[in-house]
């Protein structure tokens, strides 16, 4: 069952990679050195990346109910 929350990275990401190191399931990639991208399907919404992010650009979003 998918978690209720997932991480969303804002456009001001500095792509430092702090989030990569703390993601327990490796659901984060740095897209071409520009921005961190979270695989929202795999993300378990633990929030470790948001806590670690020095730029404060990661938010936890509620998943929309599947229609």
């Amino acid at each position: 069952m998918a978690s209720k929350r997932y991480a969303l990275v804002g456009k001001d990401c500095v792509s430092c990679g702090c989030c990569l190191k703390v993601c327990p399931i490796g659901a984060i990639n740095i897209w071409k050195g520009v921005v961190a991208v979270v695989d929202s399907q795999r993300c378990v919404g633990c929030g470790r990346c948001a806590k670690e992010c020095p730029a404060g650009v990661i938010e936890l979003m509620e998943r929309r109910a599947e229609v």
């Binding site: 792509s15 897209w31 695989d39």
Partner: protein, 215 residues
Amino acid sequence: MKTQKHWYDFLWIVTPIYLGLGVFRILFAWIGMLFFCLPLLISIFGGGKLYCNRYCDRGQFFSLLGGKLGLSRNKPTPRWMRSKVFRYGFLIFFFVMFFQMLWVTWLVGSGARDLREFVTLLWTFRVPWDWAYQGSVTPWVAQYAFGFYSIMLTSTVIGLVVMLLFKPRSWCVFCPMGTMTQLICRVKAGTPPCQSSCSGDPSSCAQCKGGAPHA
């Protein structure tokens, strides 16, 4: 969560070794050119921000002190410090001071100025450092070493202060090397993917409409 350790996870040791060597022999400061050139070369030749993400000794050092050793207050980095104005402003300031250092090196090399055997901390405070130079090389080589070491020491001090006050790697937010390599990657990569919670329909999302691929 236990993760397998790699050799590059221990690169944090490079920071104290580099700064320590400079205390005894200022000419070791030249090794710091690696920390300038490697990130740029990696990003120019398609490695993206691999240096920041994996090999940055300083970032690892701050993570170790602030994270594992718990020296950081772990408070959010202030909004103004995260702003684009500050990031790019700091990059420009850093460049200006770097070229000023090159200018002084050139003056010493041309004989217009004597070698200054001190380290300038925070671009302001002159700390005597004459014991670390034994007069064995051309003066401009030594002057560059003093100047470069000043930059490295200053940025480490700033990084340590923001590590203590905010998050362990708050320095990464406005690190000039990180900003520069991200700019290079941005130019090479084009439009970043849309990560909003939209459905990917260009008619309902401005970012998707602008041609952004959907994450």
